[in-house]
Symmetry: C2
Subunit: 339 residues, 2 copies
């Protein structure tokens, strides 16, 4: 195995080949004690780690998807703030049995996502570890702090906009973990669902568009639509009413749910990892927000409203109400992870 | 085991009790998709991860020392930039068998270091992991990028200032890994050496003082005096001549080296993890720099000079020369880690 310094040089080379590391805010990049940047405004910073056996499995994930997912998931938090993506810092925990090709695949995945969004990998750290992990820190920018959208500003009367379909990432995971389920699903569709799990999109353009179109509160759907709506309701001190019949569900989720003998709504509401954005938008700016999101290659839907009170009410297709409790349990089961 | 959200609430409470999380640059702290800050100048950002079995052992490390070390080691990189410490972001990978008391100990160690340096823990992430890891991201500040000191500015003729003694952390590790060595060492001294390993100091005041006193290049001694001098020489395009007889060595290192049948110079030059600062200072500002460092409760020494050329020359007490090669091998052996 290469030593730490060789590894870092190799990773840097690979990232430069992907066309990243040429950002304007970075004064001193990777290779010194710290990276130096000149933000010139407010910053949004988020951290996110993925660990083998918990958030992915080396046995089922292509290496490039591990790198892709780690960075995309972290950037999704910046999307939910309406921030412009800036820098990423990558910490890799590498087990001794990791092959060089696997490492380069991870670097390529990171590099591809960074290049897509103009993100500079400004620093990082490589350490030995009994288990593979990828821990990301991402920094986004805005002219001032008021331009960023937290979870806390939703007001009664606001509409709830969801940027796209949900359920696909959880169905993709179910296919990965239970290969036999795929017998009930058309191969092209099964592949698309696995892609939802392997290579989530960070909706940075949509987040920026929503922030500019007046979104008052925003969150990305990582824990599941129900749980994330509850986070937003709690932070804003409001009640959220979700109409599940208005949310679109990824193609194939119903087929996977049937094969797994599960309720497709569970995938949609509790599966998580969709990384669509849920935003509270004032009624008077709703048309503007919908149009702005449509221009970013998303397929938005209005999925409910903000009301006085607290908690989340979910109305299913048949009008049945489900309370906000129990999402976490369902989520853990759907994910199969020890978190 | 508590779920992710309970854990985060518990950690936040613990950090607030330690008196942190009240920083002026943080507009939105922990609990949203990202932390929002208003840097108002240049930033220095560094990441550092420590992993059980590689950088520490749960079996020999008090939990509080794990938290202490993780943050101090990360902040040391900011010290080496001459940055004012600002925010920290903590990513914890927690194995299922981690007891709540252990977790709280880690949080207390993080909180104590943060409180000492006025660092705000502005965000974090808790994930399940087969192995305990603590991955830190730290952000420091300066009025502008030119106020920060990289590894790259040393010039021929500069003096080399080292802020304090070296070798102690490696001797402390040797005592932890080979308990029988302690028979040859006075108990109070053995304890002090273990402390060097458990609870390194981040020399933020000394780093800031050196930056203001005109240091042209700086690095913290994490890999070992020889290896880190080589990093500085390479980044600056100069040759570094170290006089080992001028560097002070921690009390007890000689006794541990004797008990371990090793050369005490190996601990001092190749052991690493001392987190003292090595700075290149122009001759005309040397008195000012020495005085400024003395005022920060450090014990500085002049350990050599910068010359034309490349690489590192080490002169031992008997005048023998050692070339810069081979440090990494020695270091790996001294550390006993798989990195």
């Amino acid at each position: 195995m290469l030593d730490e310094f060789d590894l870092i040089a190799l990773l840097r080379e690979r990232l430069e080949a992907a066309g990243v590391n040429a950002g304007s805010r970075v004064v001193v990049g990777s290779g010194d004690d710290a990276a130096v940047t000149d933000p010139g405004g407010a910053t949004a910073t988020s951290v996110d780690a993925i660990v083998d056996g918990v958030h992915f499995r080396r046995s089922t994930y292509p290496p490039e998807a591990i790198g892709h997912k780690a960075l995309a998931v972290a950037l999704s938090d910046l999307a939910a703030m309406g921030a412009e993506p800036g820098e990423a810092y990558v910490q890799l925990g590498l087990p001794a049995d990791l092959e060089e090709a696997e490492l380069l695949g991870i670097a390529d995945g990171l590099g591809a996502v960074a290049a897509t969004h103009g993100v500079v990998v400004a620093g990082g750290d490589v350490v030995g570890s009994p288990v593979l992990f990828v821990a990301l820190t991402v920094v986004g920018h805005a002219p001032d702090a008021d331009s960023l959208v937290t979870r806390a500003g939703a007001e009664p009367g606001d509409a709830l906009l969801l940027t796209g379909p949900v359920g696909g990432a959880a169905a993709g995971l179910a296919l990965l973990e239970g290969g036999e389920l795929a017998f009930g699903v058309e191969p092209g569709i099964a592949e698309a669902l696995r892609e939802r799990q392997f290579r989530p999109r960070a909706l940075l353009d949509a987040g920026l568009a929503l922030a500019r179109a007046g979104a008052r509160a925003m969150i990305d759907v990582s824990d599941g639509l129900g749980a994330d709506a509850a986070h937003l309701a709690r932070a804003s001190g409001v009640r959220i009413e979700l109409e599940l019949s208005e949310a679109s569900v990824d193609i194939g989720v119903a087929a996977v749910a049937k094969a797994a003998d599960e309720d497709p709504l569970e995938f949609a509401v509790s599966g998580g990892e969709d990384y669509e954005l849920l935003a509270a938008v004032p009624q008077e700016r709703l048309d503007e927000a919908l149009e702005a999101v449509l221009r970013t290659a998303c397929d938005p839907a209005l999925v409910g409203r903000v009301a006085d009170g607290e908690g989340v009410v979910l109305r299913g297709p048949t009008g049945r109400e489900v309370s906000a409790g129990g999402f976490d349990q369902v989520r853990s089961r759907a994910r199969g992870g020890p978190t």
